[in-house]
């Protein structure tokens, strides 16, 4: 059973468009992280959210942690080809010091 479900699994859009990726679970997380991974590389941390309802912005990327700490979203404004990659959400459950990854969203931005 996958603890964290991401949607969509694949997304291909034109440069300049906006998009949102979702990460959902029935479990409550103490913190949730978003990573981007490129082929042949390890995941690179984009952001960590720890407070329910928290919103963090990183240039054109906006991350939100759900009020109940069970879900999160990543919104990209004016997507660029450099945003192409595998986006992964990952969470830590209270009292359990391991990172559980989502199923991943493969994003392709078409120039």
């Amino acid at each position: 059973t996958q603890l964290l479900e991401q949607s969509p699994q694949f997304l291909s859009i034109q440069e300049g468009e906006n998009l949102t990726v979702y990460c959902n679970s029935s479990s409550v997380f103490s913190s949730l992280q978003w990573y981007r991974q490129e082929p042949g590389e390890g995941p690179v941390l984009l952001v960590t959210v720890v407070t329910g309802g928290e919103v963090k912005k990183l240039k054109r990327l906006t991350f939100q942690f759900g009020d109940a700490r069970k879900d999160s979203s990543l919104h990209i404004t004016a997507a660029q080809p450099g945003d192409t990659g595998l986006y992964l959400c990952a969470g830590e459950i209270f009292g359990n010091e391991k990172l559980t990854f989502g199923t991943g969203t493969r994003l392709t931005i078409i120039p």
């Binding site: 590389e41 390890g42 010091e97 391991k98 990172l99 990854f101 991943g104």
Partner: protein, 110 residues
């Protein structure tokens, strides 16, 4: 400042063989976690080492074992390799909150 270093980068093994993968954590990090990532999927947690002890373990068989050394570096050993063990093996180090991942070792079992 060097991040997480993994070796080797690529490896080809035959079914039934044994393999050892190595990880040097980021400077200042004392905890090492290992993940298996199949093609097109998210990483799956194998185990985590802290103070030279296995602190947490995921749903992997005993064929997967590990070790952490006093300098915090770590090894992942897999015995009796199966074709299904072919994957990218990622090492992540941490100190408190936040993980830094290495580039991984691509293991191919033939």
């Amino acid at each position: 400042d060097a991040g997480v270093t993994q070796s080797p980068t690529h490896l080809i093994k035959t079914r039934g063989q044994q393999v050892t993968l190595r990880c040097s954590p980021k400077s200042g990090h004392d905890t090492v976690s290992w993940y298996q990532q199949a093609l097109g999927q998210g990483p799956q947690f194998i185990f985590q080492y802290y103070e030279e002890e296995e602190r947490q373990r995921g749903n992997f068989p005993d064929r997967f074992s590990g070790h952490q050394f006093p300098n915090y570096s770590s090894e992942l050993n897999v015995n009796a390799l199966l074709l299904g063990d072919s994957a990218l093996y990622l090492c992540a180090s941490s100190f408190g909150v936040g993980y830094t991942f290495g580039s991984g070792t691509r293991l191919t079992v033939v």
